[in-house]
């Protein structure tokens, strides 16, 4: 009975979404205040009923209700409670419910934090999101209902959650990634609302910016968590594989990064409005594309859900309608808006433009590499795959160019900057960056390499140009503290995010070129050397967990005859499904990670294992954290709030004026 309530609640949420998608938008068109004001309560209703739905699904998991097919497929009575609850997103149906619930959460946030926006604008934004939400729920009800029952003979026990998913990363990565992904729907809805109302101006950009920043920051964390999880769980020592399902979040992220820069230009200078709208549509399409690729089963990937083609067609339908509709609206409305070109060839506008071009090209080339195998197969019938070398060959040079410009952009001025000024400001910075790039890797790693020099020099280039910019801004104030206090939160946000890029760049560069790994077969007592470390296999002992059995090895790590750490990698077999799984042991450090994955025991008693030394790998995720921190900081800038309050008064007058006009 209870699961049926969940489904009932889902149907109610669907009905409310459709009403939300119809009345407020029509109301906004006809200036009907009552219809517009339905938007907020309806949004709350959608959120509540989707919330009830997902709670009921979690309850079915918690109580081991294996008559629900989704629970039977993704849980087991022996599964620890935290994985039972999070198994809600352990498969296609439940994870899509989470996705939709996240959208409802964003909608509720818009309803709550948009008090200062004009009511017709809010009505349109929530209406667009309501339509989207309705389409998602319809998709669930039609093709992937998480509440489907196995009747009349439910299994005695469930098939268990995929053993690779029974991990902390699984608890945090999918919700964060979805939240970031879906957040771009909000920016999309803002853009559509602006197109519908014809009010595509600097104010629209200002309203969109905090949402875009927050969505971008969460997506950054979501991707970083996925990378970190893959690094320690999948056991191949990599942090990015250019997997077809890893790519859509990156595509979305790159469009999103272009978007937050382009929004800055639209807000500050009222320029490139059309381009900004297009980027909002593209970022949103990226998120839908990710869903499509994961759930249609068209591409081979570790992420793919067991799939059926009807789902793929349905999502393709949503994608086509939403993106096609948006582009049609864009085509119809965009020529109405003119952008003027009031800037010189060397100006901040140009640097932002370069940023946008590079990011969009990078995104497009990843898109091409991801979808090319699919297109190739459709045309020729042959199956192919595009390997990491393609992506690296394209992406790495583009990012290097981007970073070169990144050092200049923030120091340049709107409209016009003299080249001589930039050279005077940055020649010392460039020189210092180069010196740091040559010297630092040599001191740390005691060897010279062009790649390491390049990575560190570029990291130093960004960092030093940030320092230069801040010191310029502070120098004309009486004290340093007064100067620092006068800078805005959004300025600090920008610099923090840019510094994050520098940190990540160094991490990626050094870890890519100085990582070592070695697969060995060791008898108890035997050791092996890798870089400056020696690894001794002491012994292996059997271990038993709540739902698995396995072996644990003890590996003593020494450097210069000093003990550093004992690592305990495991090899497990999950009892319910019989799947083997390796749990690597990692000694994480600021400057290097040591890690060991355990293979299997040979008849001789020796164990096979792979040992990795990965310098600076943590810097990759540290960089991502800094970026997300920067994005959040920028979204908290007080000018968004101040302007809201001012606008409130103006809009209220306007609305009451309109209202009295209607009455008369």
């Amino acid at each position: 009975m209870i699961p049926e309530l969940g489904q009932f609640s889902l149907i109610l949420a669907f009905c409310l979404s459709i009403i939300l998608g119809a009345f407020p938008i029509i109301g906004a068109h006809r200036n009907n205040l009552l219809w517009m004001s339905l938007a907020r309560p309806l949004t709350a209703g959608v959120f509540v009923f989707l919330g009830i739905s997902i709670l009921i699904l979690a309850y079915a998991f918690a109580t081991d209700d294996f008559s629900v097919q989704f629970v039977a497929q993704h849980s087991n009575s022996a599964l620890p409670t935290r994985y039972k609850l999070t198994a809600v997103w352990g498969g296609h149906e439940g994870s899509f419910l989470l996705w939709t619930f996240m959208l409802a959460g964003w909608m509720l946030a818009v309803a709550i934090f948009s008090k200062s926006l004009p009511i017709d604008f809010v009505a349109r934004v929530l209406g667009v999101l309501g339509l989207l939400c309705g389409a998602y729920i319809l998709f669930m009800l039609a093709t992937s209902n998480p509440f489907d029952r196995i009747i009349p003979l439910p299994p005695a026990d469930g098939a268990d959650l995929n053993s690779a998913l029974q991990d902390f990363g699984f608890i945090v990565h999918p919700p964060t990634l979805y939240m970031g992904y879906v957040g771009f729907s909000v920016v999309f809805a803002f853009a559509i609302a602006a197109l519908l109302s014809g009010r595509l101006d600097a104010a629209w950009a200002r309203w969109s910016r905090p949402w875009a920043n927050i969505a971008w920051a969460i997506l950054t964390i979501g991707i970083a968590l996925g990378s970190w999880w893959a690094y320690y769980e999948l056991g191949w020592g990599g942090w990015w594989a250019w997997d077809p399902v890893e790519n859509p979040p990156l595509i979305t992220w790159l469009f999103g990064t272009a978007l937050i820069h382009s929004l800055a230009m639209t807000e500050k200078r009222g320029m490139f409005k059309n381009w900004t709208v297009l980027l909002a549509i593209l970022a949103f399409s990226g998120s839908l594309l990710g869903t499509f690729i994961t759930r249609s089963g068209l591409l081979t990937s570790v992420h793919a859900f067991a799939s059926d083609p009807s789902r793929g067609f349905f999502i393709l339908g949503i994608l086509g309608l939403a993106v096609g509709g948006a582009l049609l609206l864009f085509a119809l409305r965009a020529p109405l808006m003119k952008s003027e070109f009031g800037f010189d060839l060397v100006s901040r506008e140009i640097f932002l433009l370069v940023n946008n071009v590079i990011l969009v090209v990078a995104s497009a080339s990843i898109f091409l590499g991801t979808l090319f195998p699919m297109v190739y197969q459709a045309v020729t019938g042959d199956l192919i795959s595009i390997g990491p070398p393609y992506f690296n060959a394209i992406f790495v040079p583009l990012m290097i160019i981007l970073v070169l410009f990144l050092g200049v952009g923030p120091l340049s001025r709107w409209k016009r900057t003299s080249t001589a000024y930039l050279i005077q400001q940055l020649s010392k910075v460039a020189m210092a960056g180069l010196v740091v790039g040559v010297v630092l890797p040599f001191i740390i790693l005691l060897e010279f390499s062009l790649a390491a020099t390049l990575a560190v020099a570029l990291g130093a280039w960004i960092t030093l140009s940030i320092v230069k910019d801040i010191s310029n801004k502070v120098s004309n104030k009486i004290t340093i503290w007064q100067g620092l206090g006068s800078l805005s939160l959004s300025y600090y946000g920008m610099q923090a995010a840019h510094f994050g890029i520098a940190v990540m760049f160094v991490g990626v560069g050094l870890t890519s070129y100085f990582s070592s790994e070695k697969s060995v077969l060791l008898q108890p007592g035997q050791s092996t050397e890798l870089d400056a470390y020696s690894f001794t296999f002491m012994q292996s002992t059997p271990v038993t967990g709540p739902n698995y059995i396995g072996d644990e090895a003890q590996i003593m790590v020494r450097r210069n005859d000093a003990d550093i750490e004992v690592l305990y990698p495991q090899r497990r077999v999950y009892l319910a499904s019989g799947t083997p799984s390796t749990e690597m042991a990692i000694d994480a450090g600021f400057l290097r990670d040591l890690f060991v994955t355990l293979g299997e025991e040979k008849e001789s008693g020796a164990w096979s294992m792979t040992i990795y030394v990965k310098p600076f790998v943590r810097w990759i995720w540290l960089g991502a954290i800094l970026m997300a921190f920067g994005g959040t900081l920028a979204a908290g800038d007080k000018r968004y709030r101040r302007l809201r309050q001012r606008r409130i008064a103006a809009e209220n007058e306007q609305i009451s004026g309109r209202f009295s006009f209607i009455k008369s």
Binding site: N162, V302, A304, L353, I386, G387, V520, T579
Partner: protein, 155 residues
């Protein structure tokens, strides 16, 4: 020409040049990095050149797995139930690797005619069969279907 027209023109030129350069480089990189996929039958019939990097999809043949006792060398046969290809690999195998499981191997045939795998991929979801494996079995025809039904674990 007015100066702002000139500026606009130079910006457009700049963007077009950048874009065409990027597209050209992308297509070049793409053409250099295509890994073609073959079925075990195609490999057995000698359709693959020595040294060409390819992917093979198929099932790990029952009873074909051998591993050296003193090193990490392994060998096994991948099959579409019509022809087999013997795969040599050195390193740790993925968790879900076992006989009767669908896998994809990446590598090339060496001078001695032996397929040396650089990567062995098994899927993390046991209900999910990768496209490559499915295509190989489909190409091999209906006989594979029967094998598949009997060798799939109950789910």
């Amino acid at each position: 020409m007015k100066s702002h027209r000139k500026e606009r023109l130079s910006i457009i030129l700049f963007i077009t040049t950048g874009l065409s350069l990027a597209i050209g480089l992308t297509l070049f990189a793409l053409s250099q990095n295509i890994d073609l996929f073959y079925t075990p039958t195609q490999v057995a019939q000698g359709e693959v050149e020595t040294g060409q990097r390819i992917r093979i999809g198929g099932m790990v043949k029952d009873g074909s797995f051998r591993s050296a006792n003193d090193s990490l060398r392994v060998q096994f046969a991948t099959t579409d139930y019509i022809n087999d290809v013997t795969i040599h690999y050195e390193g740790l195998l993925p968790d879900l690797f076992r006989e009767g499981q669908g896998i994809v191997v990446e590598g090339a045939i060496d001078e001695l005619g032996v397929f040396q795998a650089s990567r062995v991929l098994a899927k993390h979801d046991e209900n999910y069969m990768s496209q490559e494996v499915k295509a190989a079995l489909d190409a091999a025809g209906a006989s594979a279907e029967n094998h598949l039904l009997s060798s799939q674990p109950e789910t």
